[in-house]
């Protein structure tokens, strides 16, 4: 197919549980991704090169990335637990989406609790997927499309107009402005995962079951 090897995709996994970190690391490596695990939202932001004390919203012109931090390590996706002490996964999601330098990184939320309002909130804030724990290998198969989209997006930075330059083959017939927020589509959802439907969205994007 001529696709680039998956090991060029780097996933940052965030979870305060050491058991779950070990598990997600193994799952991701089995799926041939490069993995970095951290145990908190603040460490995740540090790794991504974003410090909480930088007011990146104030000055959009200068990059919000601290020059001292290694942003050469590209992160193609962040997968984070929801319930964490201090900064929750939701807080982390928000910070990433509010950051001019990080907002295009796809974020996936994991939770052991099936709370419909929580799921909606995360999806509305821009999470690509919401996985119920324990996460399975089959769940991780859903990650690749999100990371591939980001790779092709790198060719045309921000300010893409309403017409999507790269119509993705899976989701045809969908008018979508260039942000990967508010998309909760995925085909082939495993049947044993009963996830409640997120609220229907005004632009008619299909929701996942």
């Amino acid at each position: 197919m001529g696709m680039a090897a998956d090991s060029e995709f780097h996933v940052l996994a965030v979870d305060d549980s050491i058991i779950d970190r070990k598990l997600i690391e193994r799952l991701l490596k089995t799926s041939s991704y490069q993995v970095t695990t951290v145990d908190s939202g603040s460490k995740a932001l540090e790794f991504l090169g974003l410090h909480e004390d930088l007011h990146d919203r104030i000055d959009q012109n200068t990059p919000s990335v601290s020059p001292n931090n290694h942003q050469e390590v590209e992160v193609n996706l962040v997968i984070t637990d929801y319930c964490m002490p201090g900064m929750t996964g939701y807080d982390l999601l928000k910070k990433i989406k509010e950051s001019s330098s990080l907002k295009n990184i796809p974020v996936v939320i994991m939770s052991s609790e099936n709370v419909p309002s929580r799921i909606s909130r995360c999806l509305e804030e821009g999470a690509e997927e919401f996985f119920l724990k324990p996460v399975r290998l089959s769940d991780l198969n859903k990650l690749r499309p999100h990371m591939l989209k980001t790779k092709s997006k790198d060719h045309c930075k921000e300010q893409v107009d309403e017409k999507t330059a790269f119509p993705s083959p899976k989701q045809e017939g969908k008018e979508e402005s260039n942000n990967n927020k508010r998309k909760a589509t995925e085909e082939g959802v495993s049947p044993e995962r009963t996830r409640p439907r997120p609220r229907p969205r005004p632009n008619g994007i299909t929701t996942m079951v």
């Binding site: 549980s17 050491i18 598990l23 193994r26 799952l27 002490p85 724990k133 324990p134 290998l137």
Partner: protein
């Protein structure tokens, strides 16, 4: 003991753990993640679970001994234990945590203490059984055999 007997013993023992709901499907998932490159994955994860659970059980005991119990804190610990037991497939431990959380919500001390007792029992059970299972696996490997699926 001969190899075939050992292997049969292991298969039967494993089956009994699932039958008794000590373990569930998630444990099978863990085993599937183990391979020649990561031959000790299951033992490693389970060891982390043991360490973490013992820490949590101690924290729970301390928290419930306080004059003025912080139920939010107790609940947070139980939530963690519920999560980790679910992640390794320790179903009975996980289920006992659910009842525990309900009592936390009701701020029911007696209920919480009873649940802590129950969680300890279920934890000891899964620990003993998994340790025995790992022992059987080791015996098989040392006899030059392979672990039956």
């Amino acid at each position: 003991m001969d190899l075939v007997k050992l292997q049969r013993q292991l298969v039967d023992y494993r089956a009994s753990l699932y039958h008794e709901c000590v373990l569930d499907e998630q444990f099978t998932q863990l085993q599937q993640l183990q391979d020649e490159n990561n031959p000790d994955f299951v033992v490693e994860v389970v060891s982390l679970f043991f360490e973490d659970s013992e820490r949590l059980l101690n924290e729970l005991t301390k928290a419930l001994e306080q004059q003025s119990i912080d139920f939010k804190r107790v609940d947070a610990h139980v939530h963690q234990l519920k999560g980790s037991s679910s992640s390794i497939g320790a179903q009975r431990v996980q289920k006992s945590c659910i009842a525990f959380r309900n009592y936390c919500e009701e701020q029911n001390v007696e209920g919480c203490l009873a649940c802590l007792q129950q969680v300890r029992i279920e934890y000891s059970l899964v620990k003993t059984k998994l340790e025995y299972m790992f022992q059987l696996e080791q015996q098989i490997l040392s006899s030059g055999g392979s672990i039956p699926i």
